[in-house]
């Protein structure tokens, strides 16, 4: 089993909705050394897969960033530091090292 963090971004549709676009970008624009340790995916609620994921994760609002099943950022786009903090709190030792490198390098 992969030890990567699972990050799900629940959206209306990142193409159609600017709030969803930048919630997704809060994850997709993370440095590559951090992204190498996470698996992230957008689930838009316009299709059955997205609806099922929303229900599975007990989503409450759109957009939401979910990390390892926890509803972490609900209708609040995180700062770079905030998302690193939440990833770090759930990270393997290897990812924690990469997150600290990202902090030092800045956004």
């Amino acid at each position: 089993m992969s030890d990567k963090l699972v990050v799900d971004i629940l959206t209306l549709d990142s193409v159609q909705c600017a709030a969803c676009q930048y919630m997704l970008e809060a994850v997709s624009a993370l440095p590559d050394n951090v992204k190498a340790h996470i698996e992230f995916k957008e689930w838009n609620i316009k299709g059955p897969d997205g609806i099922n994921k929303f229900l599975e994760l007990n989503g409450r609002v759109l957009p939401t960033i979910v990390i390892n099943g926890d509803l972490v950022f609900e209708s609040i786009i995180p700062t770079f530091e905030e998302i690193l903090d939440e990833l770090s709190a759930r990270a393997s030792e290897a990812l924690k090292v990469e997150i600290e490198k990202a902090r030092i390098a800045g956004s």
Partner: protein, 309 residues
């Protein structure tokens, strides 16, 4: 009746019935058998689609376009067109450059995508009859997101001077957009800032509220009606939305309509929206008819506009 009815509701007044405002957007393209990307680049098609949708849906008002990428693309932001959606900004010119380095200019009616929008607007104005035409401006924080990317949400906390510089620039762009819609003849002009629901109330008050004032001044000095459209779960910033200075506001399906109505009445604002765009109109999980009945009952007849969320 349609224009005045909608203006009265937008200004928070009692109305004999709730006006109806479909945010038809690129659905207008679908109605006339066109792809969104073709439609949005052809003033004749836009005019045809808007007029068709207004008549088909017996609307009291209708937006000219619902596309928050016009300003950004008119400043050179990279974007991708879609056949079934408005385009989406894909490149952020301020991601790694300052305003001065990027040499961004405030787009006028002659720049970028604006000539198509202006020509379409004039065609609609000439034929629309008693239907209010709405001009929708890309709000300052959404525009700042287009220009700077997601970094703007870190800047407002860690680098507020840079965030303020970008927001001040966006405020001037919004004001110019308001002048363009004013000159087209739009009766109502709304600042549409979906991203503004994704920040804390203090951040909203510090950055979004001041950046909206130049556009609001343009609208009100022309004697026109103003609104502020916000999307998402905006519950935490509703108080700030009510205080921003527009005649009214519009919200999406995620807010509690009773709470929103009470807030609007408290501040004397018009309010609208809240029809279940995804759950009912798009996905059909809820009955659109029953949802509409609930919305009309909750909205009441003081300052309420019946509209999608």
């Amino acid at each position: 009746m349609g224009i005045q009815l909608l203006i009265d509701a937008y200004r928070g007044k009692k109305t004999p019935k709730a006006p109806w405002l479909p945010y038809a957007g690129v659905h207008c393209a679908y109605l006339i058998g066109e792809k969104a990307d073709v439609y949005l680049q052809d003033p004749d098609l836009i005019a045809k689609g808007v007029l068709f949708a207004a008549e088909r849906y017996k609307a009291d008002g209708i937006p000219l376009v619902f596309d928050l990428n016009i300003e950004g693309m008119s400043m050179g932001c990279e974007a991708k067109w879609y056949p079934d959606n408005p385009p989406a900004i894909t490149g952020h010119p301020l991601a790694d450059k300052t305003l001065a380095e990027a040499n961004l200019k405030i787009p006028t009616a002659k720049d970028g995508r604006w000539p198509v929008i202006v020509e379409a607007g004039k065609k609609v104005m000439a034929q629309k009859g008693d239907v209010a035409l709405l001009g929708l401006i890309c709000g300052p924080l959404t525009l700042a997101s287009h220009l700077r990317g997601v970094k703007i949400f870190t800047d407002v906390v860690k680098n507020p001077a840079l965030a303020k510089e970008i927001m001040d620039f966006c405020a001037q762009v919004c004001a110019e957009s308001a002048r363009i819609y004013r000159d087209i003849g739009c009766e109502i002009i709304a600042i549409v800032d979906p991203v503004a629901s994704q920040i804390k109330p203090g951040t909203f008050a510090e950055f979004v509220t001041p950046a909206c004032q130049p556009a609001i001044d343009v609208i009100h000095e022309a004697g026109l009606t103003s609104s502020f459209f916000i999307c998402g779960d905006a519950t935490k910033v509703m108080e700030e939305v009510c205080k921003i200075g527009t005649h009214g506001f519009a919200i999406d399906e995620q807010l509690n309509m009773n709470y929103v109505r009470e807030m609007a009445i408290k501040y004397g604002r018009g309010f609208g929206g809240n029809l279940k765009l995804t759950l009912a109109m798009s996905l059909g999980i809820l009955s659109p008819r029953e949802d509409a009945i609930v919305s009309l009952a909750a909205g009441g007849l003081t300052g309420f506009t019946f509209a999608p969320g």
